[in-house]
């Protein structure tokens, strides 16, 4: 399934199949649209929205379609409508670059502002967007602690316990009957969780790539792959590089 057509044809809420996971005794729900829901605090976590990626490329002379922000926001709106959260955490790289927020079209700006209004909203700093997004409400933080979990953009090399991070855009590949399928995934070993990237034009990095080395206890690691209407949970050893 691709994210852009998911945004085009959203599947009704009662048809979807989520996956319940536990990170350090905290229960969370992985949604096939790529968001994490924490029922206890009614919080939605999304990571790596990379808004305004198209225009960032356009500035360099590669005129990618200017529709990525519209579609990512549509997905974000859908997931917010689905869970009606009290709190939203955008886990860094919310914008593709520093000037991204300033470049939002007025339509996108008001759509995003409407989502932010009436709920707690946290922008976590990312490597692409190390500064507060200009002209948007919400709190600006480097990291955030909630329900005994720590939310930060880049996974740390030392404090794995209870960490929810993004940055790496994990994806996983399954091969059966000579056919391979590759999907973005939530990657967790019950100690740490790395979120899939949410933006519609963000690529993925295979969970077996060396960038993930040392981050997980491989024996416990499960990839929760995002399908059209459900999450598919596959243990690490069954994944292919």
């Amino acid at each position: 399934m691709n994210r852009a057509s998911a945004a085009q044809a959203l599947i009704s809420d009662d048809m979807i199949k989520t996956a319940e996971i536990t990170i350090c005794a905290t229960t969370a729900i992985c949604d096939p649209l790529g968001a994490l829901y924490l029922p206890e605090s009614q919080t939605i976590v999304v990571s790596d929205l990379h808004l305004e990626k198209g225009s960032a490329f356009a500035r360099r002379g590669l005129l990618l379609p200017p529709y990525d922000t519209i579609q990512t926001l549509k997905l974000l709106q859908a997931v917010i409508e689905r869970y009606q959260p009290k709190c939203v955490i955008s886990l860094g790289d919310s914008f593709h670059d520093r000037v991204g927020a300033a470049g939002l079209s007025s339509e996108c700006h008001s759509q995003l502002s409407a989502l932010i209004a009436n709920r707690a909203w946290y922008w976590v700093a990312g490597n692409h967007d190390p500064d507060r997004p200009a002209g948007l409400d919400g709190d600006w933080v480097d990291e955030l602690y909630l329900e005994g979990l720590c939310f930060r953009h880049e996974p740390s090399s030392t404090e794995a316990t209870g960490e929810v991070a993004g940055h790496l855009h994990p994806a996983a590949r399954v091969v059966r009957r000579g056919k391979g399928v590759r999907r973005a995934c939530f990657a967790t070993d019950a100690t740490r969780l790395i979120m899939p990237s949410f933006g519609v034009t963000t690529g993925g990095l295979n969970l077996r790539h060396q960038a993930f080395r040392g981050l997980f206890n491989k024996g416990q690691l499960i990839a929760h792959l995002m399908g059209r209407d459900r999450i598919y949970s596959v243990p690490f050893e069954r994944l292919i590089a």
């Binding site: 399934m1 002379g61 005129l63 059966r176 519609v200 963000t202 690529g203 596959v234």
Partner: protein, 850 residues
């Protein structure tokens, strides 16, 4: 030998000036009539197309006008025979450009041309310029251009986009296009045609010389060579055709073995093929795909008791390994080479005295080209043996053989110029100098592939180049080219020109990984380093799990894993090897041959030329079912092992059948016939399901005319295409060629996901928001003619209207057997979707429960 262009009286060796006349005489040679005819045309100021079989001295013919012109000019200057002012006499730019599709061919020509030039002591400097030419040499070539520059289409595009273009090409007199028939049919040819149009702006008197093998439509090439005027009858160059030469001696392998029903390996014939190799000096063995090449090579070495030097040559092998084979070949050190189309084009390969073609040639012209590889002298007959891999191929080989004798040709048409190529060219022209849109439109439409393009389409492409051409106009401030006050379009900053140069060209390789051989050092660890064997497509490697084995470069390799952009392998391994399924190299059955095979099937009188076992097979088909007439589509239905089958014999090639299969399955699904799957070969296709489709036709539950209605190519096609990987791949190529995304350069792969962007994702975004975008139009046009063969499908649907014959059978028919045997063997080209994921996820559940 005949020449169909008027040759003036008195054209003989004496027509040649010194030192040419005495050089020919000194070697006891007569210049050939076509060489003189071409010289004559050139001297009269005309552009010409020379069509000749291999070995006819085409190269010398092409260069003779240049060599004579430079020599005579030089001579006149020395003797003062013609008085000229200094400015006039001093030529500063290139005199002749030679363009070939292959780097290797340009280098080969440089070598071949050196001999006559040296022996006659001609005052001519010849140099090559390809992607491999070092920077300092390229720089020098710009400052001090050679008389003759041998180069490739990509270099032409680079040169005309540079500031020095007007200086370099101010004095250009001739441009020679070698192997024109193979250049013009691709996007490369489209780009080159636009380049030629630009060169004519620099020098309106420019004359072209096209060298070509025999083609179906020579006038298309003649038009390609000269400027066109939109709305007028095509202008044509002169044409010189040499027919005749010795008739090739082609046979179909005579064997006592049983020809199998299906498959492509021709393993049954190995002993006979090996025998033929032993009986000849040097044999070239052609196959259609790289994986067949690997298999054949293995099979031959398995029975190579005499240890004959037999080598392997295909495009995925490492360049150094290919060079070694080529060198050994040139020195006649090899007895046989197994090769794919990499050896198709006119490079000289030593003394080949036999060509063996494994599998059906798929096109009569392709066969003629390949057979031309043996006995590279025109007056001696080429010897070739065709080895059909299965019974349908026996008929196809026979059809190709008849065609070759009859001189029938089925080269693909040139095709209309594509938008992505035009976009690249427009940006290049802006890099060269500011342009007026009106003038550039006029220039572009003078190139024959682009004569038909409408002004508003041209403007949309121009808009795409400038700002992306999106309905949502947000990129005006990032425009790559801008309309300035004086009415010209200019590049908005120098970085754009730099970017353009890095992304030039139309050849987009499928993403590939280098194969590196390492030593297996026990569990999990591998010694780093080791030689690179070649490249393999990423999509193939993605199907491998560590420990899997596959054939490559004639070795059985064990897959160890992917490290960065390399596929790490070690030697050996057990189990049956999988074989690389390269995307390239699968040719569809040509329309022409397909028709011949249909005709053969319909006319039992022609069967006497077929081997007994094939004849018998067709006889039984006639008894048990029907033989379709030439224009009919035969459909058979029968039950088999609790499934119901519907068998069709359109003979339209695998691609068209696959597309048709997808579409029919959708329709049958809606008609509740409960189809389960389908398989397609070059000749036929089968759909199977849970209900008796024959009965459904009979009862009128499903209408055949509805099922095969041409509107299947409307919404159904659109809906299926939308998610198809084939369209995504096509889009990726269009996106790179048009400059929407950047080409991957070697060594650049590691820059990470943040700076690269996946073409698939862009496609999804664009399709859902702006389905009429110019680049999506370009993609659909490509798919229609290329990957999906939709045009051919449309022709077929029209042909069979009212000509569908249904035969309900109790059991499998003889004709159906080969297709039935393919079921399960042929991967159904297709979409791997969520069901694969479900399988993987549910296995775990099953395990837990069990």
């Amino acid at each position: 030998m005949t020449i169909d262009s008027k040759i003036r009286d008195g054209l003989e060796a004496s027509a040649l000036p010194e030192p040419f006349a005495s050089w020919f005489a000194g070697r006891g040679w007569q210049p050939r009539a076509h060489q003189l005819a071409l010289l004559d045309q050139a001297q009269s100021g005309n552009s010409s197309l020379l069509i000749a079989p291999t070995g006819a001295g085409k190269t010398l013919a092409g260069f003779l006008p240049t060599l004579v012109d430079i020599t005579v000019h030089e001579h006149n200057q020395k003797t003062g025979a013609v008085r000229q002012s200094k400015a006039q006499s001093r030529r500063r730019g290139i005199h002749t450009l030679y363009v070939s599709p292959l780097k290797a061919l340009a280098i080969d020509i440089e070598r071949n041309l050196a001999t006559p030039v040296e022996e006659m002591g001609l005052p001519v400097r010849i140099e090559t310029r390809t992607g491999d030419t070092p920077q300092h040499k390229r720089q020098r070539q710009k400052l001090n251009p050679p008389d003759i520059l041998l180069t490739t289409p990509e270099q032409i595009a680079l040169l005309i986009a540079s500031n020095e273009a007007s200086m370099l090409f101010a004095d250009l007199k001739y441009i020679i296009f070698d192997e024109l028939h193979s250049l013009v049919t691709s996007k490369r040819g489209h780009l080159l045609s636009l380049g030629l149009a630009r060169l004519r702006q620099h020098c309106p008197q420019l004359q072209t010389i096209g060298l070509s093998a025999t083609v179906a439509d020579p006038e298309a090439l003649q038009a390609w060579l000269v400027p066109q005027i939109r709305g007028e009858e095509p202008a044509l160059s002169e044409r010189i055709i040499i027919t005749g030469g010795a008739k090739p001696h082609i046979t179909i392998l005579q064997t006592d073995e049983r020809v199998p029903w299906s498959g492509h390996s021709a393993r049954y014939a190995m002993a006979d093929v090996y025998g033929a190799i032993k009986a000849h000096q040097t044999t070239l063995l052609f196959v259609n795909t790289r994986s067949q090449a690997e298999m054949l090579f293995q099979a031959l070495w398995r029975i190579n008791d005499d240890n004959l030097p037999i080598a392997l040559h295909h495009g995925s092998l490492d360049a150094s390994q290919r060079r070694k084979v080529e060198a050994a070949m040139a020195q006649n050190r090899l007895r046989a080479v197994v090769a794919t189309s990499t050896l198709d084009l006119g490079i000289d390969w030593g003394d080949v005295d036999l060509v063996v073609h494994i599998g059906a040639p798929k096109g009569a012209s392709r066969l003629a080209q390949r057979i031309g590889r043996s006995n590279h002298r025109m007056d001696e007959p080429s010897r070739a043996i065709l080895v059909p891999a299965n019974r349908f191929e026996v008929m196809e080989c026979q059809a190709a053989l008849d065609a070759n004798y009859l001189g029938a040709q089925d080269t693909p048409p040139i095709g209309e110029g594509t938008y992505d190529v035009l976009a690249q060219h427009i940006l290049g022209m802006a890099c060269a100098a500011p342009f007026h849109a009106d003038a550039l439109y006029g220039e572009v439409t003078s190139a024959s592939p682009y004569t038909m393009i409408e002004r508003d389409q041209f403007d949309r492409v121009l808009e795409f180049v400038a700002t992306g051409g999106y309905a949502l106009r947000t990129y005006d401030r990032y425009a790559r080219i801008r309309l300035t006050r004086d009415g010209t379009w200019r590049v908005s900053n120098p970085r754009i020109a730099q970017q353009y140069r890095l992304n030039i060209g139309t050849i987009i390789e499928a993403p590939e990984l280098r194969i590196r051989l390492t030593r297996h050092a026990g569990k999990g660890t591998n010694v780093r380093g080791g030689p690179v064997l070649g490249k393999v497509e990423e999509s193939f490697v993605e199907m491998l799990a560590p420990g899997d084995t596959f054939l490559f470069a004639g070795k059985v390799l064990r897959f160890e894993g992917i490290r960065e952009n390399e596929c790490i392998v070690s030697k050996g391994g057990t189990g049956s090897p999988k074989i690389p399924a390269y995307a390239g190299g699968k040719f569809p059955l040509s329309t022409y041959l397909a028709e011949q095979v249909r005709a053969m099937l319909a006319e039992p009188d022609t069967w006497h030329v077929l081997p007994q076992q094939v004849r018998g097979w067709l006889e039984i088909q006639r008894l048990k079912s029907v033989l379709p007439s030439r224009s009919d589509l035969l459909i058979e239905t029968f039950p088999h092992e609790d499934r119901f089958y519907m068998m069709m014999y359109p003979f339209e090639g695998r691609l068209a059948h696959q597309t048709l299969g997808m579409l029919l399955t959708r329709r049958l699904e809606r008609a509740r016939a409960r189809p389960l799957g389908f398989v397609a070969t070059d000749y036929a296709m089968a759909i199977w399901g849970l209900r008796d489709m024959g009965l459904m036709f009979e009862r009128g539950e499903v209408s055949l005319s509805d099922l095969f209605d041409e509107d299947v190519l409307g919404d159904d096609l659109e809906a299926w295409l939308a998610e198809s990987w084939m369209l995504k791949r096509t889009f990726r190529n269009c996106a790179v060629i048009s400059g929407l995304i950047e080409r991957r350069h070697p060594g650049q792969e590691k820059t990470g996901r943040q700076v690269t962007v996946s073409a698939d994702l862009i496609y999804d975004v664009l399709r859902s928001h702006e389905p009429d975008h110019i680049l999506l139009q370009a993609t659909r046009n490509d798919a229609a003619s290329g990957l999906l063969d939709i045009r051919r499908l449309a022709d077929m649907l029209e042909r069979i209207k009212g000509h569908i014959i249904v035969k309900r059978l109790e059991q499998i028919s003889p004709l159906a057997v080969p297709v039935m045997l393919e079921i399960g063997k042929e991967p159904v080209a297709g979409e791997a979707h969520d069901d694969i994921l479900a399988e993987a996820a549910d296995e775990i559940i099953a395990e837990a429960m069990g």
